[in-house]
């Protein structure tokens, strides 16, 4: 009930706010509106023109058009490896959420637990997760297990921290307000604490999902038979720089896609404080 309540609020706002924001945008100067697109086009154009002029070989630096053509041609190959990486990323991230959120709640509600676990968490965070990749392969083999584990380890920390910070930054008066209405802690959590922490939590999710992509790909670099990291190493060993770039673009695309999925979910379940201003 509590979650539908939050969702309802978000959607109602969306319907109401849509007309307003689109009107506002169309009035803005077009240069400002398309500035990112223009800059990207200029940079890619310069790259496209300067590569042949400089005499660099395609083996060293392929042109954007060549990379794009290659992506289109190799779509089935890229997709078959992207599925593997996507699965590892999503599984690792989901583990990060499933373990990170309860851990954050325990830290928030128990001072003793916070004192016990925080130093360990911080110590673990200072270990470069990438350095664990060879060990994970040693323990978990060549399959998807070490990649998921690495994606999990790398995405878990920002989820925990952002959730704890989100819960702790709540105005204490809001808790008094609902308590004065006779709210239980359970109600306080679902009516006030959680909705107020959601922007922070989603911020953590966005950082985490981008990191999870890195974790999975690094895992594939170390030992894999499938996945975009594996494909990139293959391209590298064949001096197929164009395919190498095509893989990089696909990996980025994966990260961007996941980021926007989370962003979309966020805009559906939360209402931004300053959205109306």
């Amino acid at each position: 009930m509590a979650s539908t309540d939050v969702i309802g609020a978000g959607q109602a706002q969306k319907n109401q706010g849509k007309n307003m924001s689109s009107k506002k945008k169309s009035r803005g100067p077009w240069l400002e509106r398309y500035s990112a697109l223009i800059l990207a086009t200029v940079l890619l154009g310069a790259w496209q023109i300067l590569v042949p002029l400089s005499g660099l070989s395609e083996f060293v630096l392929p042109t954007p058009l060549a990379i794009a053509t290659r992506i289109v041609n190799e779509l089935p190959l890229l997709a078959s490896h992207a599925y593997v990486t996507l699965f590892e990323v999503v599984a690792g991230f989901a583990m990060g959420v499933l373990i990170g959120i309860p851990l954050a709640l325990s830290i928030f509600y128990s001072r003793a637990f916070e004192r016990a676990i925080y130093p360990i968490l911080v110590a673990l965070q200072t270990v470069p997760k990438v350095a664990l990749a060879p060990l994970l392969v040693l323990y978990l083999g060549y399959g998807w297990a070490p990649k998921i584990t690495l994606a999990f380890l790398i995405s878990f920390f920002p989820i925990v921290i952002s959730t704890v910070v989100g819960l702790q930054s709540l105005d204490k008066n809001l808790v008094n307000l609902v308590r004065s209405m006779g709210a239980s802690e359970w109600q306080t959590f679902f009516k006030v604490r959680l909705p107020a922490a959601l922007p922070n939590i989603f911020g953590g999710f966005k950082v985490a999902v981008s990191l999870a992509v890195i974790g999975a790909v690094i895992g594939e670099y170390v030992a894999a038979e499938r996945g975009l990291g594996y494909l990139q190493l293959q391209a590298n060993s064949l001096f197929d720089t164009t395919l190498n770039f095509a893989t990089v673009v696909t990996i980025s695309g994966l990260g961007v896609m996941l980021y926007f999925i989370i962003d979309t979910i966020e805009s559906r379940v939360t209402y931004k404080r300053d959205a109306a201003k």
Partner: protein, 266 residues
């Protein structure tokens, strides 16, 4: 329900003390053996400087803080946790920004697990009474400070509380908005006739609004003066502010603060 038809609740405070433990040994005595009876349906204002324990008093009445010694009863029920007959308005509006105005007003209904649909019409009615008709689907960020505090008052009134506790509700508003809110609060109260405990450090608004003003002094928090305000109602802004008796009351309260060194006479 008691035999009376009044919706105001009776408040009975006896020997109420509150000690705040500090990490060092010097505990702070915020309230010192307060005795206070409030008539059902009366408007009581509490004035005092910062740190006089007036907010502590409100917090104890709201059931948010446990008393150290002594007792509070609302209509005969001892208060140890929030009493269902009380509604609280805080200094800041504390509206939930992710909820519409209407959903903010209905929050106490949801928390008490009552039928929200039943109270929707009542919420709209309250909004209309405070001049915010048709604002139900707006979000708090689309409202001005005064409008937001009006919504907070509607939220406290949705369940027609027998005791309305207000903790410096107009402290954060500009002078013009504050004047309007004082007038609106008076007409709302004249309609409802519930018991109001109004905490403020504004002597003028305390005298203007209340039937009775309690003047508190700090450390330890005690009631120095219990002043009955005998001015005709409904009070009008200009007329009451020009009233001889009004000024006599204000002077009497200022004299206490000057005697205590809280206000220095020039």
């Amino acid at each position: 329900m008691s035999a009376t038809t009044q919706m105001g609740a009776a408040v009975d405070i006896s020997r109420l003390s509150k000690v705040y433990k500090t990490r060092e040994d010097d505990d702070v005595l915020a309230l010192d053996k307060i005795d206070l009876k409030i008539e059902p349906g009366s408007f009581v204002a509490v004035v005092g400087p910062s740190g006089c324990g007036k907010s502590t008093l409100l917090s104890l009445l709201a059931g948010l803080t446990p008393a150290s010694t002594g007792s509070i009863a609302i209509d005969g029920d001892g208060v140890s946790r929030p009493h269902p007959k009380t509604g609280v308005v805080f200094q800041s509006d504390l509206l939930l920004y992710w909820r519409t105005v209407l959903d903010n007003i209905l929050l106490p209904i949801e928390i008490k697990k009552l039928d929200v649909a039943k109270y929707r019409a009542r919420a709209e009615e309250l909004l209309a009474q405070v001049g915010l008709e048709g604002f139900g689907n707006k979000y708090p960020s689309e409202l001005s400070g005064g409008m937001r505090q009006r919504v907070a008052i509607c939220r406290a009134l949705i369940q027609e509380p027998g005791l309305l506790l207000m903790d410096e509700p107009f402290g954060a508003l500009d002078a013009l908005t504050r004047e309007q809110m004082i007038m609106d609060l008076q007409s709302m109260w004249l309609r409802l006739r519930n018991t109001v405990l109004f905490i403020t450090h504004g002597i003028d608004e305390a005298v203007f609004l209340a039937d009775r003003v309690l003047v508190m002094s700090p450390r330890p928090g005690r009631v120095d003066l219990d002043l009955k305000i005998d001015l005709p109602r409904p009070r009008q802004w200009s007329k009451t502010h020009e009233d001889k008796d009004y000024h006599a009351y204000v002077r009497q309260i200022r004299a206490i603060f000057e005697a205590k060194g809280i206000l220095v006479a020039h």
